[in-house]
């Protein structure tokens, strides 16, 4: 069994809720989707028991009805486990993972600033990356938000010499 297949079977063995949700995209790339109620346990298992000791990044995204978050975890063999979950758009609450990875703080601040997540367990600290005078309630990475100046840019089909 390849390393990726081993990872898949370990995850499925421990978390039946991940059935059909663990995908082997290619060598060294595993994608798994966990329900938000389970993501904390799956994350903990991946980091503490499966040796995923590197947090590459945390990606937040607007899925439409919900907001998604992906924890990109890697281990020394080079395999990356991309752990996705989704939370409600009206109450997008996450638990901070800074107790596992102090460096997660800056990625979680980005989730707060750009998508409006609420991250519990993250102490006070400067915002990132938006300026202090950024208007409240404006989350640039949400799909229903548009930069005022963008509307006036010519779309590709309108350009004459490209």
């Amino acid at each position: 069994m390849s390393e990726e297949q081993t990872i898949q079977s370990e995850l499925l063995g421990k978390f039946p809720c991940l059935q059909d949700k663990v995908r082997l995209q290619r060598a060294r790339r595993v994608f798994a989707e966990a329900p938000s109620a389970q993501i904390g346990k799956v994350f903990d298992f991946a980091v503490r028991d499966m040796g995923f000791s590197i947090l590459c990044a945390i990606t937040g995204l607007d899925l439409g009805g919900e907001l998604g978050v992906i924890y990109h975890l890697a281990r020394d063999s080079g395999v990356v486990l991309n752990l996705t979950t989704a939370v409600s758009r009206d109450c997008p609450r996450l638990q901070s993972v800074v107790s596992y990875f102090p460096a997660a703080e800056i990625y979680e601040r980005e989730l707060i600033d750009l998508l409006g997540f609420e991250v519990q367990g993250l102490g006070p600290g400067p915002r990132y990356p938006l300026p202090d005078d950024w208007p409240a309630g404006q989350y640039p990475l949400r799909k229903d938000w548009q930069a005022p100046a963008e509307a006036s840019l010519p779309q590709e089909s309108e350009e004459k010499d490209v």
Binding site: R26, F31, C56, L61, H72, V80, A103, E105, L130, A147
Partner: protein
């Protein structure tokens, strides 16, 4: 602050109603740093959002400009993700060319860093020498790609320009010249006691802390963390090129210097190997305009460390989501840690040693004595001057070198 008589921290001039954002907030006790807060965001341009409203190719032009020093890193990392989503396999010759440009970029970046580090400790001769050598690489890159910086070399499915036999000969000749020059820098780094003294014991980051704080690149490798994406999670042609991952256990700025000069020597060897084994064939496969729905996580070892891009496509000609995690962001936490209990005068070189991809030179630094006092602000330039003066008093003066800094004619 015992040196406060010579060095004034100006408070203002500032309009009381306007608060100028400071990038570093330093709490001092005398000359020693109690705590450093780092505030980022000055370079936040909204690139990720902009990609969602542009075609993949337009997004590529944006992504190349996340950082001008490692533009090919961002470009390649992004292109790799999109190619994975679209199931595109660039031809072997293209993969080799991408790797050659990647290593040329590493060389220019590390030489740039050597010069900047020299400048930060008052060793401006090193800046002039390394940046003159660096021009050899800039000329090569301009000839290969059409631009000194922001090469535009990648396209989805391959590269946009080929390497001619004449260019190959030029590059090989340049590698020989740069190897000689770099041996000289290594001798400076290992024998010039002023430089060793200045950089040793500064910016300490223990091995466990490097891992705990998620440090990447030369910063981590100088704390004996042998992580290098080119070896751990190979991409481009790296699984076909023999090379060593350079590490040491100095845990300090000196160690980071040694890692970078060591990596330069590896890059010269790698480029020779890649050129001498360059596969024949086309340089690109055709790419669609609309990318199929899918996602990919791409990693790349930029000169500064691990670069991470996540891309999601939705079947249209525009990306659904692009996420960029540049290496500097991973090292920022480590910097705050390195500066604790250290002298203010070490701040410039410690920050410079992670090779930050944000322009330090114009940032404001807030200093306060103790938690309760009002912070004043100084500029990076003022801190730079303070640092050099402070170290001169400790006997570090690059005007008086032990080793003669002449090295014969440059090619």
């Amino acid at each position: 602050m015992s040196d406060a008589r010579e060095f004034k921290i100006p408070i203002g001039p500032q309009h009381p109603a306007l608060k100028e954002p400071t990038s570093f907030t330093v709490t001092l006790s005398g000359e020693k740093i109690l705590q450093v807060g780092v505030r980022l965001g000055y370079n936040h341009r909204g690139i990720e959002k902009a990609c969602e409203n542009r075609s993949f190719i337009q997004s590529l032009y944006l992504i190349e400009r996340v950082c001008g020093i490692c533009s090919h890193s961002h470009s390649s990392c992004f292109v790799q993700a999109v190619e994975e989503i679209a199931g595109l396999q660039p031809p072997p010759r293209a993969v080799y060319i991408r790797t050659i440009v990647a290593e040329l970029e590493r060389i220019h970046s590390h030489l740039l860093w050597l010069g900047v580090a020299g400048h930060e400790v008052g060793f401006d001769t090193l800046l002039m020498y390394t940046w003159r050598d660096r021009e050899i690489v800039m000329d090569l890159l301009a000839a290969l790609t059409g631009n000194r910086v922001n090469y535009g070399m990648n396209t989805f499915g391959g590269v946009r320009r080929d390497i001619s036999p004449e260019q190959k000969a030029d590059i090989l000749k340049a590698m020989d010249a740069l190897e000689e020059r770099t041996k000289y820098y290594i001798s400076i780094a290992t024998e010039e006691t002023t430089l060793i003294k200045r950089l040793s014991g500064v910016g300490m980051l223990s091995h466990p802390d490097a891992i705990r704080l998620g440090a990447v690149g030369p910063t981590a490798r100088a704390s004996n963390v042998p992580r290098d994406i080119r070896k751990d999670d190979p991409y481009a042609a790296y699984d076909q090129v023999p090379f060593e991952v350079i590490t040491n256990d100095h845990n300090d700025v000196y160690g980071r210097t040694l890692v970078r000069v060591g990596e330069l020597m590896q890059s010269y060897k790698m480029i020779r190997h890649l050129l001498n084994n360059l596969p024949d064939g086309p340089i690109a496969v055709k790419a669609p305009r609309k990318m199929p729905a899918g996602e990919a996580l791409s990693r790349y070892e930029a000169p500064r460390g691990e670069n991470v891009h996540y891309v999601r496509a939705n079947g249209s000609e525009k990306p659904e989501r692009v996420k960029v995690r540049a290496p500097t962001l991973a090292n920022v936490q480590a910097v705050a840690h390195m500066l604790k209990d250290r002298y203010l005068a070490d701040l410039p070189i410690v920050v410079a040693a992670i090779d930050p991809c944000f322009s330090c030179t114009d940032r404001l630094i807030a200093l306060s004595q103790g938690q309760s006092s009002q912070p004043g602000v100084i500029t990076w330039a003022q801190l730079h001057d303070y640092s050099i003066q402070w170290h001169r008093k400790q006997g570090i003066d690059f005007g008086q070198l032990n080793k003669s800094f002449t090295c014969g004619e440059l090619t």
